[in-house]
Amino acid sequence: MISVQALAKQFVQGRGRQRRVVAAVQEVSFDAADGCITGLLGPNGAGKTTTLRMIAGLVRPDAGQITVAGIDVARQPQAVQARLGVLSDARGLYPRLTARENITYYGRLHGLSPARADARATLLAGMLDMAALMDRRTEGFSQGERMKTALARALVHDPSHIILDEPTNGLDVLATRSLRAALRRLRDEGGKCIVFSSHIMQEVERLCDQVVVVAGGRSVAEGTVPALLARTGQQDFEACFVQLAFGATTAGGAAAPAAAAGPAA
């Protein structure tokens, strides 16, 4: 279970006259249950990535509280990091190491024995359909191959909580499908608490048990897809999202320009 309460974070950009304060996250609150895929849906610049980074203990929030499995991130960041598997937007791999070496290195950093790390890597290779890649150096991997390796790396210590930041960015249909299947398996077989951010409607609609709509640094709505549709009275999830994120006036035909402008872009 990941619980986020009234999270806020602002960044200072530039110095002197160029100094500018950007409120990346103003008030985000949601609960992500175990055995459930929770989607953070929002336009670009809505504060999704910053929220996920704060959960991962990478950025300190200005206000609010985050607990992962009941542990406060601010007090015990390392205990939280041991329980979290994070696939952030930075998914750099070591090009001179093989996929297996990349994955087991993280297993070792999480305190696994060499044999256990290797066994986990093999298991994940089967699950993510990347057994053929394992002993190749990651230099020259395709986007999909990189994503799989980075995901296996994030999951090597068998975390109970998984965070994915826009995992399908740059993936083709097949890779997206296989990722979706993997996430479902993790939810159904492992009972994991999975949070993932996206700005793609179909993906959220197909995969998420629970959706949190984030816009302008605030969480504006939370619920299942049917519940959100019912709440807005829309048939189409895209229209439903636009109405929730940008207000009722733009929910009709003017969805595209409104989304492109984005309140926090």
Binding site: A56, L93, Y105, L109
Partner: protein
Amino acid sequence: MMRGAWQVFTKELLDALRDRRTLAMVLLSAVALGPLLLVALSLLVAEFEARAEARDLYAVGLDAAPTLRNFIERQAWTVHTAPPDHADALVKRRFEHPVLVVPPGFEADLAAGIAPALLLVSSSANQRAEGSAGSVSALLQAFSQEQASLRLVLRGVPPAALQAVVVQRRDLADPRARAAQFTKLLPFFVLMAVLYGALHAALDTTAGERERGSLEPLLMTPLPRSALVLGKWGAVAVMGMGVAVLACFGFLPGQWLLRSEVLSAMFQFGWREAVLFLALLLPVAALLAALLMAVAIRSRSFKEAQASSTVVVLAVSLMPMVTALQTGGEQPWQLWVPALAQVTLMQRVLEGEALGAIDLLLPLVVAALGTALCLASVVRQLRMAAWK
């Protein structure tokens, strides 16, 4: 924590060793450095020796001065006719010998007791010609002395009457100290090799990691920042130290290649010298690794880190200039300055001087403190959630 640091260390070392191209360049320069430098130096010294032994005089109009010619040939010098355009050639450094110009009336003037003027043409901007000018000048001086003595003897005056004072010279430099003039560059090159050995690994494990986007996932593991930094530093320092070991032991076989007998007699670089060099270089390799990392971690990209590390490279390469520029010998404060201390002490080793415990300990303590400070700064930089 130490287990985590060990994991990072082994991974970074493996990563660095797989970077074959960079490794090959570093190894080639480090291993080839010692022998190559020695060969270059020995060629230089051999040429100096050959020139000192060669007794060649280039002259104009010497045929009209049989007495002088006879004297010169008696001293086992070979007389050559100077080329007509020697003045221009000397200025342009195409001709590397001083030229003696004998006036036409030399023999008659000498017989008449009128001191004839001899002209020795050289250029002080032409070092090689200037080097031989001294011995030619001494030769002519000896001729003058002989003539004067003969005249005095004819008049019944003992030649010793003209020599009120006898000047003798004693050279106190022992052969190794003399060789140190030639081998002065070696400590500097070894130090630079160590720096370049650590440079690429230092940038790759910090700025490179950030540029690749692999730093952030690393910071999201429960590994303490200090363990991460310690492991990375260990790998970078080992790269620098490896180059130090190769460079030092490279001099041992390098000695076989010495062309100059004088230099090979003077340049004694045995196991003792190699071990002392290493004792000086290993701490400074650790410090340079930490310093380069502290500089590079502040950069967002590998390229930016390369630009900022230039300052470190420049500082280290300018340090030895202090020893070259200063007069008044080695100052006590030099041992407090990293890089400068090592270069100074390595020169002492080459000169065959003994190193005291304090000479080895002081730079070691300074390097250890500097390393700790730099590593603390890297840890602090990683703790700041500055990357957004």
